[in-house]
Each structure stands twice: as C-alpha cells, then as structure tokens.
C-alpha cells in the first residue's frame, strides 16, 4: 500500500481511532494501582497514542491532496 495514495481524511481517521483507543486504555490503567496497570500504560497505551501521533504527522507529509479536501490550496494553485 502506498502512503501517497491515501487521502488525508483516511490518515486522520486512522490517527483518531488509535488515539481514542490509547486514551481509553490509559484511562483503564489509571483505575488501579498495580504493576500490570503500569505495563498496560507503558506498552499498550503509549504505543497506540504514539502511533496515532506518528500517523497524523505522516499525513502532513505523505497524504494525497484532493480537490475536496484542500480547496484553499487548489484555488490558489489553479485559480
């Protein structure tokens, strides 16, 4: 799968889903004081949140720009 073939909205959706999931896992890990809660946060929540951030940042670089998604830029370029 080519990154550049995906629209920015697809990236935003993927990043949002991962961040919501990571945030929910973090919330669950705060519910109890136990070593497994630390592991849940350190290995699962941070991975999901970090991946979400990376996918969002990747979208700024790799996402394909389409007329419907970026009207301002297209209007300036094409008039």
């Amino acid at each position: 799968m080519k990154f550049t073939g995906l629209g920015i909205q697809t990236f935003i959706r993927m990043a949002s889903a991962l961040i919501i999931l990571g945030a929910i896992v973090e919330m669950v890990s705060l519910r109890w004081v136990h070593p497994l809660a630390f592991v849940l946060f350190a290995f699962v929540a941070i991975t999901l949140l970090g991946l979400g951030i990376l996918i969002y940042l990747a979208s700024l670089v790799f996402a394909a720009s389409t007329a419907g998604e970026n009207p301002g830029r297209n209007a300036k370029a094409g008039n």
């Binding site: 935003i12 949002s16 961040i19 919501i20 890990s29 705060l30 070593p35 951030i53």
Partner: protein
C-alpha cells in the same frame, strides 16, 4: 489525588476532540480544522503520554503498588512484624521512612536514572511473575548496596558517633562491609518466617 483528576480531564478532552475528527475528518480542510487536528492529534496525546508516565511513575513508588504483587505479599507483611530486630519493620513502623513509600525509600539507588532503572527491573520481575517461574526466594540482583542506607544515615549524629560504625566507616562507605550481611543488621525481611511471627497491629 489532584494530578490524577487533571489527567482524567485531559484524557476525556482528548477523546472528545479526537472523536469529532473521527466522525468528521473533512473539517480539517479549513484553517480552524487544521488547528483542531494539530491540537487533538499531536499536542493532547503527547500531554497524555507525559502526564500518564509521570502519574504511573509516582504510583509505582507507593508501598501499596509493590506489595500488590503476589510474590511480594510476605515482604509487605514483614513490615508489621512486632520485633525490634527486624530492620524493615522498624523503619516502617517508626516512620524512619515514609510508610507510603517504604519499599522505594530503601530499594532505589538515588541516582539520576535510579527511578528509570527501578522500572526496568520491575518490568523484568513482572515478566518472571507472569510468563516464567518465580524463584522460591527473591534476591536483589547485584546485592544490596550500603549507599542506600547511607543516603539517609550518613551524617546523622547517632550513626556517625556510634563507635562500631565509626571504626569501620571507610569500609561501610566503600561497600566492603555490608550493613545487612556482616552480622550487624542481618534480619531484614525474613519473609519466609513471617507466618510464624507476632504481628504489630496499628491502633491496638
């Protein structure tokens, strides 16, 4: 705990703003949407990671955290042994260390990366607990350093003026003579014997 409350609010705000982007990603076409996306998908999750790590690091210093592991239960019980020769119990019961951070106070090495190294050790022990076979007797890898005792006791009048300590001060500071295994303060937790000992019950 106030910091946990703030963190929960931060997480909820992150979930709400991110949910808006999940449902309507098209709003990122406009300038406001782009700013919202940057805040919700970059700034807030980064804050959630930072604040979450800080909260979990603080929690992992609590006595309650350490003794919640099954293999540490008897070590936790040893803090209540009603015997003045039990070193850990004496420190805990007389508040020579904070009771809420009793394990951490004596088992961290007080270096800049000490808490981080403690967490790595902790993760290793969790692996042994859940995915391997825990040993019958738990030992500290590398042994117990006198520096952890001296972090509090060095410079204290009662410690420095004690003739026994005074005579071997150099050996203590260079870890050549161990505080806890050289015949002086040998009874620390003695966790395997806890079931047969008289226990101190606070408030009775």
């Amino acid at each position: 705990m106030a910091s946990t409350g703030i963190l929960v609010v931060l997480i909820v705000v992150t979930i709400v703003l991110t949910a808006v982007l999940l449902v309507r990603p098209s709003i990122t076409a406009g300038t406001t949407g782009k700013i919202l996306a940057f805040v919700a998908l970059c700034i807030l999750p980064a804050l959630c990671i930072e604040a979450g790590m800080s909260t979990h690091m603080q929690r992992s210093e609590q006595t309650q955290f350490c003794v919640s592991c099954h293999s540490m239960e008897t070590h936790g019980q040893s803090l209540y042994v009603d015997d003045p020769t039990y070193l850990a119990a004496q420190h805990f019961q007389n508040h020579r260390v904070s009771p809420d951070m009793a394990c951490y106070a004596c088992h961290t090495d007080y270096t800049i990366y000490g808490p981080f190294k403690d967490k790595l050790q902790g993760v290793k022990r969790i692996y042994i607990q859940y995915l391997s076979t825990p040993p019958a007797t738990i030992h500290i890898s590398g042994g117990y350093s006198n520096l952890q005792c001296l972090h509090c006791h060095a410079g204290a009048r009662g410690f420095e003026e004690n003739p026994v300590h005074h005579a071997m001060m150099d050996s203590l500071k260079t870890n050549q003579v161990s505080c806890i295994s050289s015949g002086c303060h040998d009874t620390v937790h003695n966790a395997s014997e806890v079931g047969h000992l008289k226990m101190w019950r606070p408030g009775q």
